[in-house]
Amino acid sequence: MTQNSYTDSNIRWIYPLPAILFVALLMVFPVLYTTYISLTNWTLTSGTAPSFIGLSNYGQVLLEPRFLQALWRTFVFTFSAVAVEAVLGVAAALLLNRVFVGRSVVKLLLLLPLVATPVAVGIVFNLFYDPTIGLANYVLESLGLPGSSWISHADTVLFSLVLVDVWQWTPMITLIVLAGLASLSDEPAEAARIDGANEWQIIRLITLPMVMPVIVTAVILRLIDALKTFDIIFAMTGGGPGYASETLNLIGYKYSFEYFRMGQAAVILMVLFLIVLACSVAITRLGKRIER
């Protein structure tokens, strides 16, 4: 009985405790450890213990052209992919937001890219993009257009990767916005119809503004995930040709697990971590504002 009442009155920390400990051990501690490593000159292959060198890793890495290019490329990839996904995703949601034969089939189809193994998706697109046997160039040539070198050339590789991300993740925005649209009451749109709005005006002046908080949340979620894109890039190009498709995530991986320059890798990881953290803080701020 006393046992029971003790658990009962302390349930609010007993229940979450194991999860908290787990997260502390596997997330908080590693981040602190990474911070520490970023201040040392450690390389795993040298066999020597890490020695403290202050901020000199930061000075070195943050000025390195390869890093700066990867940083810039991460933003270009993220924003162009998510911008296209947002426009297409919302458009598709507005298109599908009605009763029609086969609606549930289309909704199921939209789910499939979201749960498809990214590495395998990357590989399939590799076959698409193959300059000699790929379907992509076949389609272009059938339309009378010149073939592209897709992922095998530095000028086109980033665009080709954006296309894959767009294919895989546009449905995410569509599904979220569709759910948002379904949660709206029909009344305001009907009121607007009586007030004299045509279909396009209803969408532009009533429906879109009402569903905007949902769109914004979906876009920010996508931004955070796109910043971290790793699997498809690693599987399709490994950051190449040359360094032409290296993003922060890729370069962080290479410094850690190919060059084993842990100190410098830690700096890259810190930068990526802080960017994503900033975005996450933004999403919670936004959430609070919408709640009010």
Binding site: S185, E187, P188, E190, A191, A192, R193, I194, D195, G196, A197, N198, Q201, L205, I206, P209, M210, M212
Partner: protein, 351 residues
């Protein structure tokens, strides 16, 4: 402003027919209430007038114009929705100005109309607020303001008070009625609440299962219900019904109790009859009254409701007097002979 004609209007969703040929004539400036239990088709009919539902058969005319195929925006109507349908991302002023903006009315004109409407409804101080910052009653007023600004031919209300608490509902009832007296715009108002219908309407249309049961002024419906459904639907507590037959100018219940009936038609002798008497038309009479066994007594202060066994049926009586009977005791009551209603048991029609 305009009259509204509903001629043999029908509605079906595929094979399911929900409205079976409804005729209603509404005069210019009239306040008409469609009332009936949920699912009777009253909201569907209203939405057909608005143009939000297509018309399967028949004709709807606003003024001289048949509007069957006219889109809502060109029907010159305004509608107040059950959940107010305020645009959540627009201020009160923007909500009210929306329809005029769409019509590209000049700005000063819009401002003038909005401030007039706000004045009428006491919304002037709230014009810059958003709907989420308003109370239920204020939202209701904004929804009406949006309709007023339009200065339409016809106002449509779809259960506008059902989301308000009881006190506010009574207050808004009065306000809507005052508004109508001031603007004199033809109004069609849907509700399931017969008290709303009785208190507000110039004319009530009682609907049931997709047909019109009776059309008439509130007291006409109360005093002379055309059939059993209307008799039972209008009035609260509901009318009491006793089964039996007529005999020599008196009603004899199945349990053998005879009740006096003023001017009973002699031709109906022996035919199965349902006798209806409103709770407030029972009279306490210790000398001539018939005995009734009390089961529950509910004093409300101004009156007393007594549930009792009378002439073999459960009935309720409402009395201005205080009744001190305890459950199980007998009281003596008599129905007012001039105020009984007789209905044919087979057809349900008034005799």
């Amino acid at each position: 402003m305009a009259s509204l004609q509903i001629v043999d209007v029908r509605k079906a969703y595929g094979p399911t027919r929900v409205i079976h040929g409804v005729d209603i004539a509404i005069d210019d400036g009239e306040f008409v209430i469609l009332v009936g239990p949920s699912g009777c088709g009253k909201s569907t009919l209203l939405r057909m007038i608005a143009g939000l539902e297509s018309i399967t058969g028949g004709e709807i005319r606003i003024g001289p114009r048949v509007v069957n195929d006219v889109p809502p925006k060109d029907r010159d109507i305004a509608m107040v929705f059950q959940n107010y349908a305020l645009y959540p991302h627009m201020t009160v002023a923007e909500n009210m100005a929306f329809s005029m903006k769409l019509r590209k009315a000049p700005k000063p004109e819009i401002e003038k109309r909005v401030s007039e409407a706000a004045e009428i409804l006491g919304l002037t101080k709230l014009l810059d607020r958003y709907p989420r910052q308003l109370s239920g009653g204020q939202r209701q007023r904004v929804a009406m303001g949006r309709a007023i600004v339009r200065d339409p031919q016809v106002f449509l209300f779809d259960e506008p008070l059902s989301n308000l608490d009881a006190k506010l509902r009574v207050q808004m009832r009065t306000e809507i009625k005052q508004l109508h007296q001031r603007l004199k715009t033809t109004t069609v108002y849907v509700t399931h609440d017969q008290i709303e219908a009785m208190t507000m309407a110039d004319k009530i249309v009682v609907m049931h299962d997709g047909v019109v049961e009776q059309i008439g002024a509130p007291l006409e419906l109360y005093d002379r219900p055309a059939n059993l459904f209307v008799a039972g639907f209008i009035g609260s507590p509901s009318m009491n019904f006793l089964k039996g037959h007529l005999q020599g100018g008196r009603f004899v219940s199945d349990s053998g109790i005879a009740l006096p009936v003023a001017n009973a038609p002699a031709a109906s002798d022996g035919k199965p009859i349902i006798y209806g008497i409103r709770p407030e038309h029972f009279i306490l009479d210790d000398t001539n009254g018939l005995s009734a066994e009390v089961s529950v007594v509910e004093p409300t202060g101004s009156e007393t409701q007594v549930f009792a066994k009378f002439a073999g049926s459960d009935v309720v009586g409402v009395f201005r007097e205080r009744v001190n009977a305890k459950p199980g005791q007998q009281i003596r009551v008599i129905p007012d002979p001039n105020l009984g209603h007789l209905f044919d048991e087979q057809t349900g029609k008034r005799i």
